[in-house]
């Protein structure tokens, strides 16, 4: 099954490019430390999932590029074409002349309706190219105007036009200390709207990725390209092909559906965080070896202690004692309660790995059976030159504090009525803001009371 990606705004397009680049470079890489047959199967599956065949022989990404001003799309298209190994289809992009000005209302109320038909037509064309459509993956930031506002509108339109398809939004949360002054408003508006139309939100926070670049990758002068590279690697480690959980011999055909089934049992809880281990500079890879028990021990503690990476983990945090019924207010401090988790393992000796520690009931809320709350996907084919790598997609309290912080700052600004005239000018009124705040306070409350 194929996934159609919709890249929205500057961030969405820049990241989208890195993702396809990483996927392509991965499948073109060395044999991936597995049998030739395994490798070929992996390559076929990846190609079907993310690329379509064109006459020129160069695979074309299954993607639609959307932006309200031309500079970024034009750069994205040409950089991809220059690689020689993949490209974007020549008629899969839509852009206008003037951007959204970081104004969510402009993106949602003006650009959305105005360009809906043209954008949806491009999506339809891309969807028809798929033998079997596995769903939609949108990439956007929530701080700006186009990715966030137009992105929210497009998500709704996708939901209306494809009511039975899977719809996963990849959302970038901005640096806490400003990229955009009205980013908290734009974020509140985006998240609340996406919550109503999307199946799930897969989140990356710029602050977190930045730390990974600084501390793990040892990059001195970190650029957005570096940040986007790490994000692309993390996404690739989840969405590259893996074997069906049931143990069948082929690669799983329905990644989005499987992911959503595994992680989103209840519509009130749609926020997914992503962690990946190990993460290091390419130059150090050759000198490192890892063991599965070591990697998984770290990954589990990252989950429990809500750490961002394998350095600086708080090892003091422990899950609550099993057996005793503990009201949520008495749970150990800083402990991250999960609803459901998915671990993706790639590389050598993957089938002998013991994942029992992730099935510990004390990690989870009591709603699901521990067997249902935890899923694992595996493939012996190594990813992106890492001999062994493990990714964790988690529906847990990972994003609770960042969400609370964003809503708090937005509320603070809202109380002073600053910048509201910029939004009312384009059709978003104070009541609309209040509705969005209410939605998100509800989400915060739900996740807090796990």
């Amino acid at each position: 099954m194929s996934i159609v990606t919709v890249q929205l705004g500057q961030c969405g397009n820049q990241i989208g490019h890195e993702v396809f680049s990483a996927l392509c470079s991965d499948i073109r890489g060395t044999h991936g430390l597995c049998s030739k047959k395994e490798n070929e199967s992996y390559q076929e599956s990846c190609k079907e999932r993310f690329f379509s065949e064109e006459e020129s022989g160069v695979p074309a990404a299954r993607a639609v590029l959307v932006d309200m001003e031309p500079k970024v799309i034009s750069q994205t298209l040409s950089t991809a074409a220059r690689s020689g190994h993949w490209k974007y289809s020549s008629h899969s992009h839509f852009c206008q002349k003037q951007g959204s000005g970081n104004n969510w209302a402009n993106g949602y109320c003006v650009h959305g309706p105005r360009h809906k038909e043209a954008i949806m037509e491009l999506v339809q064309k891309e969807a028809e190219k798929c033998d079997r459509l596995g769903g939609f993956f949108t990439i956007m930031s929530m701080a700006g105007g186009t990715g966030s506002g137009l992105g929210a509108f497009v998500t709704q339109s996708l939901r209306d036009a494809f009511p039975t398809s899977f719809l996963l939004n990849h959302v970038i949360w901005p640096y806490g200390t400003g990229e955009v002054i009205v980013q908290n408003y734009n974020s509140v508006l985006t998240l609340s709207h996406l919550y109503h139309s999307s199946d799930a939100l897969l989140v990356h926070e710029n602050d977190v990725i930045h730390k990974i670049c600084a501390q793990l990758m040892n990059i001195k002068q970190i650029s957005f390209r570096d940040v986007n590279g790490v994000i692309a690697h993390q996404l690739g480690s989840v969405f590259q092909p893996t074997h069906a959980a049931g143990g069948g011999s082929g690669y799983s055909r329905n990644p989005l559906g499987d992911l959503l089934e595994a992680l989103v049992p209840h519509p009130e809880f749609r926020l997914l965080g992503l962690r990946n281990i190990p993460q290091m500079a390419q130059s150090s890879l050759a000198f490192s070896t890892f063991s599965w028990p070591g990697l998984l021990k770290h990954l589990r503690q990252i989950l429990i202690a809500n750490a961002h990476m394998e350095e600086g983990i708080d090892w003091q945090v422990r899950p609550p004692q099993p057996g005793s019924s503990i009201p949520s207010t008495n749970k150990p401090l800083h402990f991250n309660t999960s609803i459901a988790n998915l671990v993706v393992l790639r590389g050598k000796d993957v089938h002998s790995v013991d994942l029992g520690s992730f099935q510990d009931p004390s990690l989870y809320t009591s709603w699901l059976n521990p067997q249902d709350a935890f899923n694992a996907w595996k493939t012996p084919r190594a990813f992106n030159k890492y001999e062994k790598s493990a990714a964790l997609v988690s529906n847990s309290q990972f994003l609770l504090k960042p969400l609370d912080s964003i809503v708090g700052k937005a509320w603070n600004m809202f109380a002073s009525k600053a910048y509201l005239h910029q939004y009312t000018k384009f059709g978003i009124q104070e009541e609309d803001f209040l509705d969005c705040f209410t939605t998100l306070e509800q989400v915060i409350s739900s996740y807090t009371n796990l």
Partner: protein, 475 residues
């Protein structure tokens, strides 16, 4: 990509404008090696096929034929505009873009606004329409003028009004040169305050400039060069005051150095809209992020570095110095000290080889020493443009919506009141058709209200920080 049209009004406006066009051509020449008319160029220039004369059609692609500035030159005296038309930039403007008269406005806002405004209204509207028609997607009008005289101040603000009426969807950015205390035009306070009312009501963003600040910057550079500390190692064309490498070959006029600074301000302001970068910052984003309340749209600007040394190796220490300088008093383009006043919002537009980590490091470093309003504690808007300005490897433009503009306005009000209380020179204004005493009282009232809004913000600053309580959800 969008286009912008520059409307330069009066002597000051046209002199600054002239420097702007010169430096804009220089900048594009440095970037555009192949001579192809690209989208970046199109933001300020048309490409006209002049083989059949000046009325040739616009060419949208391909090689550059003849570049014409998207500009309107307005002056009620002929001297300055004529000089431009005889100088090296004569081919950049065509005669249909000019509106001139002979006798000037006599340093009288009322003459500029009411008399000439009325007289030239249709002519101006027609020429603006023509300029707009040549644009594929017009985003912004830039008005350049001074506040203290008659034409720039009076007719300039008349044009501002017109723009709002005729092109309400297009942004209006105004670069206003405010008079200094020792201004030799006695009635400059009247002209400025009358103009301020118009700026309050009709501009989207105003970039106030004070000659004193420009003058101090020019002096600072001269001192550095002459002290022998830098000597020949300064890259001449990197001076923020320099015309080196541009078309101007005649001897530099006294205001040229100062006007180059303002020209560079406009180039840097629009750089991220014209050139690519990893985090673009368009003009509509500037307005969106820096104007929290409609009337508080006065932005204090600073440009760094003022020059670059010829040895280009740039350790990050030098980069960090650039960020520090942007917040220092002597780099601001008005007499103000943003560090000791209250920030409502701040934008940083970096050009050149600077990455997000450099930006973040410096914001973290400088944040503790700056005071931000309680509802915008992390109020930073940032932009990264890959193309540096001519002669530099990187540069920074800082725009601050900060209460440090207040003293400028208070002083203006004081100087106004000194004259007004004695009714000095009032008759020159009141004798003009359409001018009444109420024009003055309304104008001073508008200015007082503005000052009061800044006062309220400053007053709330010291108070205890009480975050408004959040919505409660029933569990």
């Amino acid at each position: 990509m969008t286009q912008s049209v520059v409307v330069q009004v009066g002597q000051c406006g046209n002199q600054v404008g002239c420097r702007f066009w010169d430096l804009a051509l220089r900048e594009h020449a440095a970037v555009n090696k192949k001579g192809i008319y690209d989208e970046a160029l199109s933001s300020f220039f048309r490409n006209v096929d002049t083989r059949s004369g000046d009325n040739g059609p616009d060419i949208y692609k391909g090689k550059i034929c003849s570049l014409k500035a998207r500009a309107l030159l307005i002056d009620m005296e002929e001297g300055v505009v004529n000089e431009i038309l005889q100088g090296p930039l004569r081919d950049v403007f065509d005669s249909k873009q000019l509106i001139t008269d002979v006798s000037g406005s006599g340093n009288n806002w009322a003459v500029g606004h009411k008399v000439y405004g009325c007289q030239y209204r249709e002519n101006i509207v027609e020429k603006l329409r023509k300029a707009a028609e040549h644009c594929d997607c017009l985003q912004c009008f830039f008005i350049i003028h001074s506040m203290g005289g008659g034409t720039g101040s009076g007719l300039g603000t008349f044009v501002l009004n017109l723009l709002e009426e005729e092109f309400p969807e297009v942004y209006r950015f105004v670069t206003s040169v405010y008079p200094s205390g020792e201004d030799d035009v006695i009635t400059s306070p009247y002209n400025s305050v009358l103009a301020m009312k118009e700026l309050n009501e009709h501009a989207d963003c105003v970039l106030p400039i004070e000659n004193e600040s420009l003058f101090e910057i020019v002096n600072k550079i001269h001192q550095m060069i002459n002290s022998g500390k830098l000597g020949s190692t300064v890259k001449q064309n990197s001076l923020v005051t320099s015309s080196a490498g541009s078309a101007k070959i005649l001897q530099e006029k006294p205001f040229d150095a100062m006007n180059n600074i303002v020209a560079n301000l406009l180039l840097n302001l629009t750089s991220s809209a014209r050139f690519e970068g990893s985090l673009n910052m368009d003009l509509n984003e500037i307005s969106m992020n820096l104007v929290p309340f409609p009337r508080l749209h006065y932005l204090v600007s600073s440009l760094t570095p003022l020059y670059t040394l010829a040895d280009v190796n740039v350790p990050s220490r030098r980069l960090d110095q650039m960020f520090s300088d942007a917040f220092s008093r002597d780099h601001q383009l008005i007499q103000a000290d943003p560090k000791h006043s209250l920030y409502l919002a701040c934008a940083l537009l970096v050009r050149g080889n600077v990455q997000v980590s450099d930006m973040r490091r410096n914001i973290e470093r400088l944040k503790p020493s700056l005071h931000f309003v309680s509802w915008n504690q992390e109020g930073w808007k940032t932009g990264l443009c890959s193309v540096p300005p001519v002669g530099h490897s990187h540069s920074l433009l800082a725009l601050a919506n900060n209460t440090c503009v207040k003293p400028t306005f208070i002083e203006l009000k004081d100087r106004f009141m000194k004259l007004y209380k004695k009714k000095a020179h009032l008759h020159h204004y009141l004798q003009i058709d359409g001018m009444e005493q109420s024009c003055f009282s309304e104008a001073i009232s508008s200015l007082s209200d503005l000052i009061e809004e800044y006062n309220e913000l400053d007053a709330a600053r010291g108070g205890p920080r009480i975050d408004p309580s959040r919505l409660k959800i029933a569990v």
